[in-house]
């Protein structure tokens, strides 16, 4: 019995920093400035400031930034899946493990060092001011994640089915498309979810490459900071809106995320 109480106490201790933080974030976002400036701090306000959310959502810029984020993350993830899933298959089947070293080095390299040359390249190509620079540079995050996770999955899928399909006269592509890919579907889901999250969260590429019209949500939220006047409520509301999709994904796709992270502990940027 004592052990049980101790266990629950330990669980409480380790989970509370995360829970309290996000509850406090929600509390900040639902309070008027009077309550946010109160000392001692108010946890449950008497009046709930839904207005903070309404303000953020109503500003037409927010919609622009939201669409930017969707386009950048969506396109970068889509392209990464299109090239990365077959590549993971090819590398696994060719047992070309040395090539994975490139992915590892990409994992180690600081994101900023991609920015310097690519920034110049985009400037020469006249792409700055569009979303393309961000879409392209987000591939630095998404492609290695997808390849890495897919190598791991295709290595564990059984070869026998594929070989008999080949003997029956199927082409390599058909084998991949109709035999290997369906079996590796859980891996595809893992790769997709992680690519989406790390692309969505990316900040460093945006602060350099995004103009006023091409900001993604993390950059837009950062640009909202003005410490001169206290407007914590709308700021916290914006922060929560930006990260809410990811948090929901984390709770609902928890199993896939854990599988993917432990499979390579990949993190973008």
């Amino acid at each position: 019995m004592l052990g049980k109480i101790g266990l629950w106490f330990a669980v409480f201790i380790i989970v509370s920093p995360a829970i309290l933080f996000f509850l406090w974030m929600a509390s900040l976002s639902l309070k008027y400035e009077v309550d946010n400036a109160a000392y001692p701090p108010v946890f449950f306000p008497e009046r709930i400031a839904w207005k903070n959310y309404a303000d953020v959502l109503a500003s037409n810029r927010f919609l622009t930034y939201f669409i930017n984020s969707l386009l950048v993350t969506g396109t970068a993830t889509f392209l990464a899946m299109m090239v990365g899933v077959p590549a993971g298959y090819g590398i696994a089947r060719m047992a070309a493990h040395k090539s994975a070293i490139v992915i590892l080095i990409a994992r180690i390299t600081p994101g900023l060092s991609y920015l310097i040359p690519l920034f110049l390249l985009f400037q020469w190509l006249g792409l700055l001011g569009t979303l393309w620079p961000q879409i392209i540079i987000h591939l630095v995050v998404t492609v290695p994640i997808v390849i890495w996770i897919m190598i791991g999955y295709f290595e564990t899928t059984p070869m026998e089915l594929e070989e008999s399909a080949l003997i029956d006269g199927a082409s390599r592509w058909q084998v991949f498309r109709y035999v290997a890919l369906p079996i590796a579907r859980p891996g595809v889901a893992v790769a997709f979810i992680l690519a989406v999250i790390f692309s969505w969260n990316n900040f460093v590429f945006g602060i350099v490459l995004a103009g006023r019209e091409t900001r993604t949500l993390p950059v837009a939220v950062y640009n909202m900071i003005s410490f001169d006047q206290l407007s914590w409520g709308p700021l916290a509301a914006a922060a929560l809106i930006v990260t809410l999709p990811v948090l929901l994904l984390t709770v609902f796709a928890q199993r896939q995320i854990v599988a993917g992270l432990t499979a390579g502990a990949v993190k973008g940027g």
Binding site: I14, L28, A87, R93, M94, H97, V102, F203, I225, T243
Partner: protein, 310 residues
């Protein structure tokens, strides 16, 4: 799922003999190869080339050889940034390792709601770093922040947190630890799952306590996983950018300016791209060197062969 054995691409049993196979898997790889060459390998090579040039936006470029590299040790701001990076990294590796191991031991036990709570526990590392940083900045606020209120509840004096040069790095490490302890937990949890139960049973018969069992059975067996977690943590902590940039931008003054932050300033505030490239190259080599040192340490203490690839 057996976690860390999969960190290497080379599952040993993956490639049975298939001698009649024509080299026809290449078409699968070519598109990705093109992308990787364009957005990953090209920037590496171009960065090296740029680092050998005086390359500022708006002025003509000239080849200067290693001059940019010679500048580095004589640049007090860079030297200072190296110091900050080391302090930041050491703390941001050790604290998550300690807390993460504790959390893994707890999550290894069975209790109702474990899956859900594990999902909650990993939320900090999946949440958008900038959004998280914003809320931490509010919590650090000396007058209105909730952290000083919490300190006052336990009778501690208020702190200036990220607003004082002496406490800014530990405060940022607090955020980093909060954020990345879950990753260590997941990796160590994978290690714990692989430990057989017999040693614990016989230790219990011999009357060992909880701490003794942890110290003499669990800890040695999860050491390889701690190394992997430590290495990943080290690589990420050295490169840490979002949290520091969004909370302090390297300040107050330059008290929390790490190499990565300084690299950003040189390249994208002063637009000194040649010098910035040199910093990027040295920075990359530093990370590789640290990773190599840790790999070497691991080889010396390893009890299982994890395999090639890394």
């Amino acid at each position: 799922m057996s976690a860390v054995t999969q960190t290497t691409p080379a599952a040993a049993e993956a490639a049975p003999e298939r001698e009649w196979r024509p080299p026809s898997y290449w078409p699968f790889v070519v598109p990705a190869l093109v992308v990787v060459l364009a957005v990953i390998v090209f920037p590496w090579l171009f960065t090296i080339w740029m680092s050998l040039n005086q390359w500022k936006v708006g002025s003509p470029t000239t080849f200067v050889g290693l001059a940019n590299y010679v500048r580095l040790p004589n640049d007090p701001r860079f030297v200072e940034a190296v110091g900050h990076t080391i302090l930041y990294t050491v703390l941001s590796v050790l604290l998550p390792l300690i807390f993460g191991t504790f959390a893994a031991v707890v999550f290894h036990a069975k209790f109702p709601g474990r899956g859900f709570l594990r999902g909650v526990f990993i939320m900090p590392m999946m949440a958008t770093p900038v959004a998280v940083a914003l809320v931490w900045t509010m919590m650090f606020h000396p007058q209105l922040g909730v952290l000083n209120y919490l300190l006052s509840l336990v009778g501690l004096p208020p702190q200036l947190w990220v607003f004082h040069p002496g406490t800014v790095i530990p405060s940022l490490v607090l955020v980093e630890t909060w954020q990345w302890t879950p990753l260590v937990m997941l990796i160590v949890l994978g290690g714990l799952a692989a430990i057989p139960t017999e040693p614990y049973e016989s230790a219990q018969i011999d009357g060992a306590g909880v701490w003794q069992m942890f110290r003499y059975i669990t800890l040695p067996l999860i050491t390889p996983f701690l190394f992997i977690a430590g290495m990943i943590r080290m690589i990420d902590a050295v490169k840490s950018f979002d949290i520091i940039f969004a909370i302090t931008q390297g300040g107050p003054g330059s008290a929390s300016e790490t190499i990565n932050l300084y690299l950003y300033s040189v390249a994208f505030i002063y637009y000194d791209l040649g010098y910035g490239s040199a910093i990027a190259v040295i920075f990359f080599l530093l990370i590789v060197a640290l990773a190599a040192i840790m790999l070497h340490l691991r080889k010396r203490t390893m009890w299982t062969e994890i395999g090639g690839g890394a």
